[in-house]
Amino acid sequence: MQLALDVTMTNVQAGERNSTELDDIDALVRTYRPRLLRFVTFSIGDPDLAESITQDCFLKAYNGRGSFRGDCSVNTWLTSIALNLIRDQQRLQKFRFWRQARATAIDVSDAANFLASHESSAEARILAIERTEQVQAALENLSVNQRAIFLMRFAEDMDLAEIAATIKMPINTVKTHLHRALKAVRAQVGGSR
């Protein structure tokens, strides 16, 4: 992760070091699984299926590590693999997003206990949970692409060009999706004036 964020590193060096990073599947899983699991889970709304897709994603990344050229970060590469797997699942119609996944819906209510120190007071935790549930509810009403783009931008901290490359869309289309997603979230959280 640190390697991918080092902007002074040349692409060749990054590629070599990332390839080495990809060779150690256990370290790869330890480092990237939480973020990848979050992306997949909040993209599809089904935690059980998300675990399965995340595991498939790591296997696919490990088996295809030779094709990784190092022109993006490992996290971005993994996210693009996960996105393809999510699309495959969607294409196969093995599940329907969100509304049909209520039985195994994501429950973030106890996750606030594990938040960083600045959110550690009881009041702050309750407020954080409340805001999170509002954003989560807003995500439910988004399209698949809007949700994925929102998560890539605001959960994965990917810039617009990176998102466009990952999701294989023009950057203006990405912006349009993000504007719509933000409007929906704003309407849900009541931040609109």
């Binding site: 599947i25 939480p34 938040l115 993000l178």
Partner: protein
């Protein structure tokens, strides 16, 4: 844009998206009200990011730390191909071998092979020896003598049958067409009158 006109919602979205124009950035630097609006909307998103990551880290901690990798080394791929080829060869070879064996048996039963008659001769010899009361199997004998003995045996059986079984012709007092010396079962050929 002057400093008295505040940012629109789309411009605030642009700020959040990281697509910051120079004029927007200049206004934001000077306008506390717009800063507050951006922060107001950024806070729930930041909470979502933190809480969802905490949730995900907790979920990950409950999962097995190691993945079971499917082995796809080159030699194992080769072994898979070899196994598939072997299965294919067995699948084709076994039916072909069976077909060939069956063809050989058909040829043998037609008398073109010597193996089947020899087996039959040996079987008859065993039967004969059993009839004489000799225990076990006998050694193979010469074919001519064997055939002669077989013929004798069959004639003896024929005679026995002639003596013990009354012919239906005798029952009804019918005489054979070729005269009394013709014996049972030997009838004169039917004459067709012109």
């Amino acid at each position: 844009m002057n400093t008295t006109m505040h940012l629109t919602e789309d411009q605030i979205d642009d700020v959040l998206m990281g697509d910051l124009a120079a004029t927007t950035a200049a206004h934001l630097a000077a306008c506390e009200d717009c800063k507050l609006r951006v922060a107001e909307f950024a806070t729930p998103i930041a909470s979502f990011k933190a809480v969802s990551l905490a949730w995900s880290e907790r979920q990950s901690a409950t999962l097995p730390s190691k993945l079971t990798l499917p082995v796809t080394s080159a030699w194992q791929r080769g072994a898979s191909w070899a196994a598939a080829t072997a299965v294919l060869l067995v699948g084709i070879g076994v039916p072909m071998a069976r077909h060939e064996t069956r063809a050989t048996q058909i040829v043998a039963s037609n008398g073109t092979s010597q193996a089947a008659p020899r087996t039959a001769i040996a079987t008859v010899a065993r039967v004969q020896e059993a009839g004489r009361g000799a225990p076990g199997l006998v050694a193979p004998t010469k074919p001519d003598a064997q055939i002669a003995r077989d013929n004798q045996m069959l004639q003896a059986i024929d005679r026995e049958l002639d003596a013990s079984v009354q012919s239906p012709a005798d029952t009804f007092g019918l005489a054979p067409a070729g005269g009394p010396s013709a014996g049972h079962g030997h009838f004169a050929p039917v004459q067709i009158w012109d």
